[in-house]
């Protein structure tokens, strides 16, 4: 009986040790909830549509799983710029005639043009490993695909030619809850929405990081940082063009430089006011 008890206790310790290590020794990653189809309600601006495209590009579309710096698939930042050249490439097998059509085609018929070195093994770059993103596990709707094209055109620095969807477009299946592009109602929400808390601290941020300057202290000195700039103007520039002035002890190219296209005017104002100390909640 004594041995049996020892064996049971030993086995218990082993399994609980494994579970404990999983709980306390590994970082907690909370998997995303199942994706819902983006549904647009009411009017939408092109900036919002592009922001939606970015969200889908990094989220539901799972594009960044492969199109990243690890070299699994070609980077897409310049795809809008190189599209005209690819359309002229003798290897191109599709029917697109414009950049917008090319990007659309590469999403729903990826083998129409395979970037050299990224084809399926043994196909001599004639077959793409990428799935048709309008079907299967990803299953983007036309509106969602349009948003991604708009984002890629914008990030590539070319003209955004995608037409804005009409009021209730993109509904797809009506049974799913609409996911609106929610505008932050106060500075606290805005800090959270744009991920400022990852690198910055501020009284409105519960647990901030210290990779960037403490935003609670920036307001006091902002007016003196750049000649001819008021505190408000300096902070506005620091948000929309973060590399303009780099605070001492911090690195350039760390902060995202696309907040100008992501934030609404009211959100930008709320953040600036909070940094200036004009908003307390």
């Amino acid at each position: 009986m004594g041995q049996l008890l020892k064996i049971v206790v030993f086995s218990l310790c082993v399994v609980c040790g494994f579970a404990g290590y999983t709980t306390f020794g590994l970082p907690l990653i909370i998997p995303e909830a199942p994706p819902v189809e983006e549904k647009l309600t009411g009017e939408i601006t092109m900036d919002q549509y592009i922001a939606l495209g970015k969200k889908i590009f990094e989220g539901k579309g799972t594009c960044t799983l492969c199109h990243n710096s690890l070299g699994r698939a070609p980077l897409l930042e310049q795809v809008a710029q190189v599209a005209p050249e690819r359309l002229k490439d003798p290897r191109y097998k599709g029917k697109a005639t414009t950049t917008e059509e090319y990007i659309h085609e590469s999403m729903v018929e990826p083998s129409a043009y395979v970037v050299a070195g990224f084809g399926k093994k043994g196909t001599n770059d004639t077959v793409s490993p990428m799935p048709n993103i309008s079907k299967g596990a990803i299953g983007l709707s036309d509106v969602e695909i349009g948003a991604v094209i708009a984002f890629l055109q914008d990030v590539g620095g070319t003209e955004v030619t995608v037409a804005l969807p009409s009021g209730d477009a993109g509904a797809g299946s009506t049974e799913e809850e609409p996911a609106e592009i929610k505008v932050a109602e106060n500075a606290k929400e805005a800090f959270s929405k744009f991920g400022c808390d990852t690198c910055h601290m501020h009284p409105l941020i519960e647990e901030g990081g210290d990779m960037g300057p403490d935003l609670g202290k920036v307001g006091a000195t902002a007016g003196t940082r750049k000649e001819g700039y008021s505190a408000e103007r300096f902070i506005r520039e620091s948000i929309v063009n973060p590399n303009a002035v780099i605070a001492e002890g911090f690195d350039a190219d760390t902060m995202p430089d696309d907040f100008a296209t992501q934030m609404t005017v009211s959100e930008l104002d709320m953040i600036i006011n909070a940094i200036l100390g004009n908003e307390s909640s």
Binding site: Q3, L4, I7, V8, F10, S11, L12, V14, V15, C16, F18, A19, Y21, T22, T23, L26, P27, L28, I29, I30, P31, E32, A33, P34, P35, T62, L65, C66, L70, G71, R72, G117, P129, M130, P131, K135, G136, A137, I138, G139, S173, E175, T198, C199, G209, D210, M211
Partner: protein
């Protein structure tokens, strides 16, 4: 003479019947798969409203015949349906039970027992066969005892299988409706195969003593073959459902079954899964029977029993290791095929939400390897002459620990933002190098080679070659050269892969694995040649093992079980919010991907229940043996009383 002929006919006739049964079983499967669909599909003709709507929307109204004429369709005939679009209301909630967890619980327990009872008969048959060839009754006794331990497992596997089926039908009717539409015929064959397996398992086990000699023994071996064949068919059929859910085949884009059951079975991941589970079952069966032997070793006072169970534990351990060593390669093939099927699924598996799970897997497999080596080093203590190898234990231990640490070093470290600022990167300047696959492939191959070396040391602990041929003289030198060449190749390729592009780097794992495989195969062959003629150096004492060595056998069994549960979660969860990937979406309230800690504690709870049942399984044959002994002594006592009584009467 007539009697002998009669007996010969009796067992030969029985052998012929079994032979015919086994031989025709593939034909039966083939015929059943190609049987007209309507009769079996008729069994599943109850169609819910959503399916009817979908069928009206999707199914073509008419079909053209061969002559071009349009054939009228019988509206009462069952037709394959597209995958339904299920809604939350299509998932019944019964008595407040969390459907997801209930199915998880039943499925995992079923799989634990099923893996055990599928794995054990494979090596039982091999051991019995060795016993017949070597005419050594110890092998036969051990094989019989292994079988005895697994008998309760058959009932438990079937019970949890039944519970799982009922839970699926009750809690996930829409999903099961669709699966039955695709696999209806296969499911019927699966159920029928249970009869074949039951026939073989009972005749094999209960006929052991009756069919102990001569031609009857051959018949018994034949029954064992039938048991393993029917078990294998059961495994591959049920695997086809799991692989279909991950990588569906035999259906169109809308999920409509195209009518070819074989196409639905033989999906992209079916064979990799079959191979992986086949090998894992052997390893798992070995680890559990090793735990049984350790349990008996620790609870007996008899020297003879201790020696017997030490030998049994060692044999089980070797079986577990034989399964474990090729398992990473089978896993590699499965993962590669996952990538080939869907790059998105592959990256979700290895680079997404589940990336940390593989660090955990490395810890578990590392723990298994460490335990295995420790057991082998303890095993050297059985032979006096093994002292000449003791000097190698420490360096081997250092190599194994370093390889283990490298293997579970994560690519991205867990850091606070302050630490991140101080280091200046998400990757540690030194440890970051160990987080990539280049280092991990090097580490795992080194671990395997080191473990195999420990095994080879034990194998020659008590013997020396006595021949004077080439292999006896130079064999060991060639083996040492093989080890050095392979390890040099593995490390060199590992270092080189830091300097080449990712797509080329992936390919280098193949020559690394090949180096290991070459050592494993060639060194085993050379060992056989070296020790063709050998002599014992000193005394070899079975049972001469420290108590702690037996705990490593428990460590192995528990770690294997927990690892199986964890990887089961991983394989299932990479489908994310899909019942059938890309075809049938899970829209239940429980359609979430559990976090790793949640899964870990769930697996822990299941493993604890399983362990309790395993102790019950171990206890059953002990109880039976005790009853038998009690009966014997009673009979002996009765006889004695009879003798005394008779004497007194005189």
């Amino acid at each position: 003479m007539l009697l002998t002929l009669k007996r010969a006919f009796r067992y030969r006739g029985a052998a012929a019947i079994v032979a015919i049964l086994v031989a025709i079983s593939p034909l039966f499967v083939y015929a059943a798969l190609n049987f007209g669909s309507s009769s079996l599909y008729g069994m599943v003709s109850a169609t819910p409203a959503y399916a009817e709507e979908a069928a009206q929307a999707e199914a073509p109204a008419q079909e053209e015949g061969q002559d071009g004429a349009v054939e009228a369709e019988d509206p009462n005939m069952w037709k394959p349906l597209p995958a339904p679009k299920l809604e939350t209301k299509d998932y019944p909630i019964v008595a407040g039970i969390n459907s997801r967890l209930a199915v998880w619980f039943a499925a995992q327990l079923h799989l634990f027992f099923a893996a055990f009872v599928l794995g054990v008969p494979i090596f039982v048959w091999v051991i019995e066969f060795i016993g017949v060839v070597t005419k050594d009754p110890r092998y036969d006794n051990m094989a019989h005892e292994f079988m005895k331990v697994s008998m309760t497992g058959f009932s438990l596997a079937a019970s949890f299988g039944g519970l799982l089926s009922i839970l699926l039908v009750v809690l996930y009717p829409g999903f099961m409706q669709y699966m039955v539409g695709v696999f209806g015929k296969v499911m019927v064959i699966y159920a029928l195969m249970f009869f074949a397996e039951s026939f073989f398992v009972y005749t094999y086990y209960y006929g052991w003593d009756k069919m102990a000699e001569g031609g009857l023994k051959k018949l018994h071996l034949f029954l064992g073959l039938g048991l393993n064949s029917s078990g294998m068919v059961l495994m591959v059929l049920s695997n086809s459902w799991a692989s279909f859910m991950m990588a569906p085949s035999g259906i169109d884009d809308a999920g409509v079954f195209l009518g070819d059951s074989w196409a639905a079975i033989a999906g992209h991941l079916w064979n990799p899964l079959n191979l992986h589970r086949f090998i894992a079952n052997i390893a798992y069966g070995g680890s559990l029977t090793a735990a049984y032997a350790a349990f008996k070793f620790l609870t007996t006072d008899s020297k003879e029993d201790r020696a017997h169970y030490d030998w049994m534990g060692y044999t089980s351990f070797v079986i577990a290791m034989v399964g474990l060593l090729p398992l990473p390669f089978a896993g590699y093939w499965l993962t590669k095929e996952v990538y080939d099927y869907s790059q998105q699924m592959g990256i979700t598996l290895m680079g997404g939400v589940f990336a940390w799970l593989f660090i955990l897997q490395a810890v578990l497999i590392g723990a298994i390897f460490l335990s295995a080596n420790y057991y082998l080093w303890c095993s050297l203590g059985r032979a006096e002459a093994s002292k000449r190898f003791y000097y190698m234990i420490q360096p081997l231990g250092v190599v194994i620990v370093i390889a283990f640490l490298m293997w579970f070093t994560p690519h991205t470290l867990i850091m606070t933002s302050k630490e991140l600022t101080q280091i200046g990167d998400a990757h540690h300047p030194l440890l970051g190098y160990f987080g990539v696959m280049a280092a991990k492939n090097t580490a795992v191959n080194t671990l395997i080679l080191s473990t195999f070396l420990s095994f080879q040391l034990f194998r020659r602990a008590n013997i020396r070659p006595t021949g004077d041929g080439f292999w006896a003289q130079y064999g060991t030198t060639i083996q040492v050269a093989l080890y050095i060449a392979a390890e040099t190749n593995i490390i060199s390729l590992g270092i080189w892969s830091y300097f080449i592009p990712a797509n080329v780097r992936i390919g280098l794992s193949v020559p690394q694995v090949s180096s290991t495989a070459v050592v494993l195969i060639l060194s085993t062959i050379i060992d056989t040649l070296i020790f063709k003629k050998s002599a014992d150096i000193g005394e070899f004492k079975w049972g001469h093992m420290p108590i702690r060595s037996q705990y490593t056998l428990f460590m192995l069994a528990v770690s294997f079980t927990w690892l199986m549960g964890l990887m089961g979660y991983c394989r299932s969860a990479i489908r994310q919010h899909w019942h059938v990937y890309t075809v049938l979406r899970d829209n239940s309230v429980n359609a979430f991907t559990p976090t790793l800690p949640f899964a870990a504690w769930m697996v822990t709870a299941i493993v604890l229940v399983f362990m309790a049942l395993v102790f019950f399984m171990f206890w059953m044959p002990i109880l039976a043996a005790k009853k038998k002994e009690a009966k014997k002594s009673k009979v002996a006592g009765g006889d004695l009383h009879g003798v005394i009584g008779a004497t007194a009467g005189e």
